[in-house]
Symmetry: C2
Amino acid sequence: MGVPRVGGGPMTSAVAQEIAVVVGKAACPKGFVSAGGACGIKAGGKPDLALTLCPEGASAAGIFTTNLLRAAPVTISQAHLRASGGRARVVLINSGCANAATGPDGEHRAQAMVDAAAACAGCAREEVLIASTGLIGSTLPVDKIAHGAPALAERASSDGLMDFARAILTTDATTKTALARVEHEGRSFLVSGVAKGAGMIHPNMATMLAMVLTDAAVEPEPLDAMLRIGADRSFHRISVDGDTSTNDCVFALASGAAGEFPEALVREAMARVMRALAIQVVQDGEGARKLIHVRAHGAIDAAQALAVAQTVASSLLVRTAVAGGDPNWGRIIAAIGRADPRVDMVRLRVEAGGVVFYEHDAPTPDARAVLSRVVGGRDVVIDARLGLGDASDEFFSCDLTQEYVRINSEYST
Amino acid sequence: MGVPRVGGGPMTSAVAQEIAVVVGKAACPKGFVSAGGACGIKAGGKPDLALTLCPEGASAAGIFTTNLLRAAPVTISQAHLRASGGRARVVLINSGCANAATGPDGEHRAQAMVDAAAACAGCAREEVLIASTGLIGSTLPVDKIAHGAPALAERASSDGLMDFARAILTTDATTKTALARVEHEGRSFLVSGVAKGAGMIHPNMATMLAMVLTDAAVEPEPLDAMLRIGADRSFHRISVDGDTSTNDCVFALASGAAGEFPEALVREAMARVMRALAIQVVQDGEGARKLIHVRAHGAIDAAQALAVAQTVASSLLVRTAVAGGDPNWGRIIAAIGRADPRVDMVRLRVEAGGVVFYEHDAPTPDARAVLSRVVGGRDVVIDARLGLGDASDEFFSCDLTQEYVRINSEYST
């Protein structure tokens, strides 16, 4: 997919002007050390264990899959955040085994993983966050994790977040990282994020995980709100295949080591880092070669804006047309036509790559030419201008290729 | 896809025992004559024009696409049903051109098509139902239709419904027909249906159309109710790609020539014929080789039953796993896990081909073997037993193959 090209995002406040996000980089904010390496879960010595420590403790928040088939590490991390009142000292994540649909045995093994992490950090069990990703239904080799974790803890450093990013991957082709250094009145703070995910679900492939760290001081409650707002603008605005996984987790941790900053500034920086991560997840979508970015403007309300953006971006027929470089404008218009009953097709104006190809209830004479140029490229940007109100939203997807089907139709054995 | 194998369906009343549906056959009920042939819209003299006449008039009802991008023939047929109070004398359908997104010119050409049909039937314009299917955005060659329709009217006969079924096809590999002859207290009536559709949307491919004829006497209002109930059990329970088209129409006509029968009996016969048609549409899904039939039992309410059946049947990951013959039980369970928040994973029991592979919150030891046998076949039947209440529902889909992506990523030129 090459280097991700989108790191910005819509401005939501004046302070947001100060924020620039660099994709492809990760660095531990003050108060955190990280490491990643191999503990033997994956064959061939591939990285499969990732650790982040916050020795002085951090505010912590999490968002978890809504799938009722929830892996043991998901329910445990949720319970820990509740029990600790939103505090954490260590995050331990393994790849190569999702520890999902593994019953009471999976629960015991996940608890043993917690014990190993707590021993590394010298902290209470409830200050541990864990996550697992990989094949569903297989037994977690927790002995390997317990053996590997202390070594990681020993060499964890402020330079170790890129190694962490590598160690949480499964079928991902690339690491997903983003970094924002925000200057404000002569001081600065960092927000750094890592993610993994190429499809939404097991087996043999990605479940979405992400971790966002900052050294800005944020109490657990506002941190939780920031995480949710950020996710609404990022991980809740992407789709590879419409499935939600058994293991999805997004963690946010704030060490406070850089001191206090305006809440709006930290919130915006977190949201942008998360958005940059989310886009990288889609760009690495299974079999994908192109990013589809659909924006809806002038909607009656937020629900309509989201419906239009999501329906177009998620349409199998739009996604297959983009895969084939097919200037098939009718599929885009038809997707808008089924997205929300309050759309007015006469007021609708639709652009591809910034050029109008549909207005006044009909395609422009050069509609196919306009769309040809855009779907022939790597970033397919569609703007639907509804002309009905002030709400807007966006959604990201990727092209749907034969390779996607090949990957997902292969035997899980 | 071979010969469709499913023609029955759930019983909804005692009288329903009398009904058997034969798929692959069509015959005009008394009071109707039909014909199909070529008028020159498609290249190579392929059938592209279909006509059904009801000289004495018929009760009529229609269901139309909810897409706001509605083709001219859709809006016209809707208006005619309202104006006539649910009466019709002629149905005229062309394939090879959808006359959608064609603006005022498309409207005029559709009106000219109405004139041609009215002249054939010697009836008022409002007694005409029309439909078009094929490429979106291209101009309807209505002169060819006006020239071809009288010839069809001349040779329309009670044997002509199979020709009608052939003439409405676009990318379909096979005709879709179903026939029920219902005996009741020494008399009988017919319900015969034809359909087309292989994907849900233009261009270069199917939009779903269907027509169901009966000689039972049914007034327009109950006929409309029967059509909606039938669609809820058939065309609203299938998905090839989640897109809804610009041209979908389902017509029902009742000539009354066979006299009156119990309403429940006619309703059930119509519903079964429509279900048999809907299954044939899915079996002919673009690139499809397998039918996926998901049933949800023991649900709290109808919404939950539908959500579970539809979510599993529509999951891209389930559909790609079926395409590859992959016994990937985790994808099925995870789809159930995201379908409805009221599902209780501990009470859940799931069967493939009638054999349990998941219960007590875990797969059975032979889960992969059970699923291997089922996904290796052509009819993949999954039963999700929720253990929560009395509601049930079903949903049909097909496997998602690389061929589907190839068909839909090719240039629309």
